[in-house]
Point group: D2
Chain length 134, copies 4
């Protein structure tokens, strides 16, 4: 598991009094930075090697402004050139949101997907989700 | 179909030069306003009747800053108290993103889901997605 | 005056029930698109010619989610290579926010400011703010 | 000085390759949380006591996605019911942005400004900006 703890921002709330649902994909993107670094160690966008094909988020409970949020990040399915990142947002000991992003290792020059290198595949195996993704 | 055309904002791009993926759920939320009005005609948040249980977005092509985006909104599955909204983002004649949100008709006071009223069900039937959601 | 009417988004509200203050600079940036087009007619970011040196926003009244917002855009001071854009956000016949952005005509290659061309200066004069900026 | 270090998010970049300018007011709002806590110790929005009258941001250098940002927060002018918060964003040893927000101690029930309590005034004096705000 890769874990990051963030402080929600006031602007991320909405008029219903909680964190707005559309904020969570941005939190999850930020918490995937360590995964991005496997492919682009200095995070230089000119050498970016990934594209996002799809994501989903399920909401299990309200997220609040006042308390820190732990973002947990696991690797799910590992394919040839694509892989799943499964993430959870925890607050106050409760899993409030979870979701899966499908990323593709991609050569932006040649506009083609490329296999995941073996060394990165080994890193991924150290962060596999231990259960059934939900 | 419910259609809305928006102008992407410069701040919605990212360093890869296109619209950032995490922006799309916010666009889709905005384009669901006509659906929100079925449940809360004046959009008064104090009488809000819906919660979002889940959403997914698939990315089919890059979205750009320079051109308008048409957001198409359909009703998918209609359950007892929950229903699916299926949406697409079109730019330059191309479907660039699509996704489904699961909404629940909800009584925030009693913290309980409530059946979709028959008159709203009739409105939904006028906006059904004519194909297989993808 | 250059005018654009937008629909606030639910996610732009905050837990106090109104549009969050930090949203307004993004609205104003979007409403400056016609100004950006004077310098980069096709809005191609690879040929971008402006940098933002400074902005301020004053809040005169609450902005709400439910109603459209008119964004009015004027040119203020015109310098040699820099100029001011003065903007207002109106809702329900009330001026709710206003602010000035200082933009600089800039050569990103040479990292140097460059004079505003005479033809753009003429366009600017057609959109001067008729009063005292406030 | 009140200091907070954040990690920029990929979505906060724009197509010019740097952090978008309109992101900074949100960072500054987040970094004012300790000031908000002086007035509402548990950050419960139902007991919120402040309104934002105005803010400005000046940009001195580009902010990048790859490096942490330190947000420094000082108290500037202290009036009867209003006060200034002066903030800076530092990255890589360089001050990249700075700005002042004018906040008003406010009774949302009575819709009236109220004097800053003496104990909070004492807290403010411990965080005064030591130089000339710029």
């Amino acid at each position: 598991m890769i874990s990051e703890t963030i402080k929600p921002r006031f602007l991320e709330t909405d008029a219903l009094g909680h964190i707005n649902n559309t904020v969570v994909p941005g939190w999850f993107e930020g918490a995937r930075d360590p995964v991005f670094r496997w492919f682009t160690p200095d995070l230089d966008v000119k050498r970016w090697r990934l594209i996002l094909a799809r994501f989903d988020v399920s909401f299990h409970g309200e997220l609040y402004y006042e308390y820190p949020v732990e973002l947990r990040c696991y690797i799910g399915r590992i394919g040839n050139s694509s892989f799943d990142v499964y993430q959870e947002a925890w607050q106050h000991g409760e899993k409030c949101a979870s979701g899966t992003s499908v990323l593709v290792h991609f050569d932006h020059q040649r506009k083609a997907s490329i296999p995941i290198p073996e060394d990165i595949r080994q890193l991924m195996l150290q962060h596999l989700y231990p259960g059934e993704a939900r």
